[in-house]
């Protein structure tokens, strides 16, 4: 909305003036500005010196690093462990192929509507449903003559992504069902859903992981071993589903009663009403909550180190137990932090674009 006043240059402040007022408009502002500038002056140059100008970029040994700067040689020496853990080198192409397919699928899912000739929905649906099986066959092996790589060799960024992606993709549908169940008119369904959600939300993730890795095997008959990664995946998914259920319930409750009644009045069945009228609106409302649950799930996967798995963060700890590299955990942690930031920030940017899309619902 523009008014005649805004267009009048006499009243319009220049950008410089706006900045000046924000920074030095009052005595307090001036003091704060100068203090912050000083703080930046004190911290930024030494940090840049350490991380970039005096850092050691080239070499193959810890002795190629001097102590005045960061030793990025660490990353180049251990990159394979950092990305893939102890996955055998000669089978690495399988993981590369797997992540390539994942990226293609993800791009297709996100961008297919912008293509001039949109991809057929059925193709997308089929490839999305097929992908987990193809990925599993590639990662674990045992099919098409691929050697089996047991999950104890999985590690690094790869393991982190496996746990996060499985957790995210299974927790959403599960959480949806739980949220609907919690509003069900059938008492037994409702009680079961409330009990489930409150039980899983009432314990910290680390407890779930300990139950999965330490307690669960003791309940099993001796000699029966369920793969430890599978136990963790089930635990993480159920845990995340409980949170997801509550987020989606928030969305469901925000939909005015009239929508439910109108849907019913037009003769739609419960499921039709839910999937065509209520859920599309409810979920659009809670996208920020859903995405931040995903983001915190990605970060919480690092807890698996405590039960003896080498996730992206844990592998730094592991590689730095080599006596030559024992001093260089800092570089590893910074690298891991950066990668985590990139992943989580992209997710949150993507959620912004989803929110801004005009509601394309009925």
């Amino acid at each position: 909305m523009t008014t005649p006043f805004n267009n009048n240059s006499r009243y319009k402040k220049s950008r410089y003036q706006q900045w000046y007022e924000a920074l030095f408009g009052s005595k307090i502002n001036s003091v704060l500005t100068i203090a912050s500038l000083y703080f930046l002056y004190v911290t930024i140059p030494p940090m840049l010196n350490w991380a970039i100008f005096e850092a050691n970029w080239l070499g193959s040994n810890a002795s190629d690093c001097n102590s005045s700067g960061a030793c990025w040689v660490y990353i180049s020496v251990w990159w394979q462990q950092l990305l893939f853990g102890q996955y055998p080198s000669e089978e690495l192409w399988r993981l590369v192929l797997c992540s390539g397919l994942f990226i293609i699928l993800l791009t297709a899912l996100i961008l297919h509507k912008r293509l001039r000739a949109p991809l057929p929905k059925r193709l997308l649906l089929i490839s999305t449903l097929l992908y987990p099986f193809i990925a599993f066959a590639l990662m674990y092996g045992g099919f098409f003559g691929l050697a089996i790589v047991e999950t104890r060799f999985w590690g690094g960024l790869f393991l982190t992504l496996v746990i996060a992606v499985v957790g995210i993709t299974t927790s959403f549908p599960l959480g949806l069902l739980l949220a609907l169940g919690r509003q069900s008119t059938l008492k037994i369904v409702r009680l079961f859903c409330i009990g489930f959600i409150e039980l899983w939300r009432g314990v910290p993730l680390i407890t779930v992981l300990f139950m999965a890795s330490v307690m669960f095997p003791l309940f099993m008959p001796q000699g029966v071993n369920v793969d430890s990664l599978l136990r963790v995946l089930v635990g993480v998914s159920l845990f995340a589903a409980a949170y997801m259920a509550e987020i989606i319930r928030g969305g469901l409750q925000a939909i005015p009663k009239g929508q439910y009644e109108a849907a019913k009045a037009t003769g739609l069945s419960y499921w039709q009403a839910m999937f065509m009228i209520i859920l599309p609106q409810a979920i659009t409302l809670v996208i920020p909550g859903i995405v931040s649950a995903f983001i915190s799930l990605i970060k919480e996967t690092t807890l698996v180190y405590i039960i003896g798995m080498f996730d992206f963060l844990g592998i730094v700890q592991f590689t730095a137990s080599n006596s030559e590299w024992i001093r260089y955990t800092k570089e590893g942690y910074i690298f891991v932090g950066l990668v985590f930031w990139v992943i989580c920030y992209s997710l949150s940017r993507y959620s912004r674009t989803l929110e801004q899309k005009p509601s394309n619902q009925h």
Binding site: V214, L218, G223, G308, F310, Q317, F318, T319, S323, T329
Partner: protein, 337 residues
């Protein structure tokens, strides 16, 4: 109703029935690999080498057993365990042997259902302090704040030592050794306590390793050794005598490099060790050359020690108690015959 109850009880009894493990030795032979529980990264004991393969004192025990049972030291599946998951992993059969800087105690040997097969390192809890504090003895530590790990015997030892000497202290607890070390290095506490072997490793991480000293006192006995499950004596024997063979080889001065020069030996002990006479292998249900295979793969005890934690490593822990009995230590091989 009665049938329902009866069938419920029947299925419950099926679940609770103790299903005996198949013999671990046979399982390992069939599987073709030893599943060995190690740490998730501890310098000198189980850590990755430059190629990312496992190496270290505890890893060499695993390799020795694989060499003895399967004739090939590379046939080990390493299972990283944390200090919380290690015992469950052994109890549930996820691993065949726990070789993870684990202290041999009565309660672990009995109540936890473990059998310790021996000691591969006599360690003990010590203290590290800054040199400039001028402290010479742990008895001067009154009022100190002490950084340590949770969930190990470290806490109990500290409590015992300080109350026995009427000293006050404050604990600062962490889950991981790296956190303890960095907290100490940053000055969040005055003292860092842990097993001396661990202190030696963490000292390398300090900003200035030379600014720190490890005090003379050792306030605990920490005999570290590999453990197996209760109730499988055959496997227990294999692990126990594999450890013995490492020490026996050092007593006989048999090393990885000179073992082939003893082929025509007249010494009956050496001949038994090489498997050219006697029935050691048969008695353990192993190949006659089982002990020779161990030495060819990993060397004798002295070589393992030097390579991983001793003078040839960065840790440089003096051998101390871990010398042979004939050199003033307490290592003593029970006769192999």
């Amino acid at each position: 109703m009665r049938t329902i109850t009866a069938s419920f009880l029947f299925s419950a009894s099926l679940l609770l029935m103790p299903t005996a493990f198949a013999s671990t030795l046979d399982t390992v032979k069939d599987r073709g690999s030893v599943k060995c529980g190690v740490t998730n990264g501890l310098t000198g004991f189980s850590n990755p080498d430059k190629q990312g393969n496992w190496e270290g004192m505890d890893v060499d025990v695993c390799r020795a057993i694989a060499a003895a049972v399967l004739g090939d030291a590379s046939k080990v599946t390493y299972v990283p365990t944390s200090s919380k998951t290690r015992f469950t992993a052994l109890q549930t059969g996820e691993i065949d042997i726990l070789s993870r800087v684990t202290t041999w105690t009565l309660s672990r040997d009995s109540k936890l259902g473990l059998n310790f097969a021996g000691v591969n390192l006599y360690d003990g809890q010590g203290f590290m302090v800054r040199k400039d504090l001028g402290i010479k003895s742990a008895k001067e530590l009154n009022g100190a704040s002490i950084c340590m790990n949770t969930g190990t015997s470290t806490e109990t030892n500290i409590a015992d030592f300080f109350s026995a000497n009427n000293l006050n202290y404050k604990t600062v607890l962490f889950e991981k050794s790296s956190e303890v070390a960095s907290a100490y290095d940053l000055g969040r506490c005055d003292v860092y306590t842990s097993d001396k072997s661990g202190l030696a490793a963490q000292r390398l991480k300090m900003q200035k390793p030379d600014d720190h000293i490890i005090l003379e006192e050792t306030i605990s006995k920490e005999p570290l050794g590999p453990a197996v499950r209760h109730g499988d004596d055959e496997w227990f024997d294999v692990v126990k005598w594999s450890l013995m063979a490492l020490i026996e080889a050092e007593e006989l001065a048999i090393t990885q490099s000179n073992i082939d020069t003893f082929k025509n030996t007249k010494n009956p002990r050496i001949a038994r060790f090489l498997g050219t006479s006697g029935e050691n292998g048969k008695n353990l249900k192993l190949a006659p050359e089982w002990s020779a295979n161990i030495i060819k793969a990993v060397g004798n005890y002295g070589e393992i020690y030097a390579r991983n934690v001793g003078e040839k490593s960065q840790l440089k822990i003096p051998r101390g108690l871990n010398k042979l009995w004939s050199d003033g230590g307490i290592l003593y091989a029970i006769p192999l015959h």
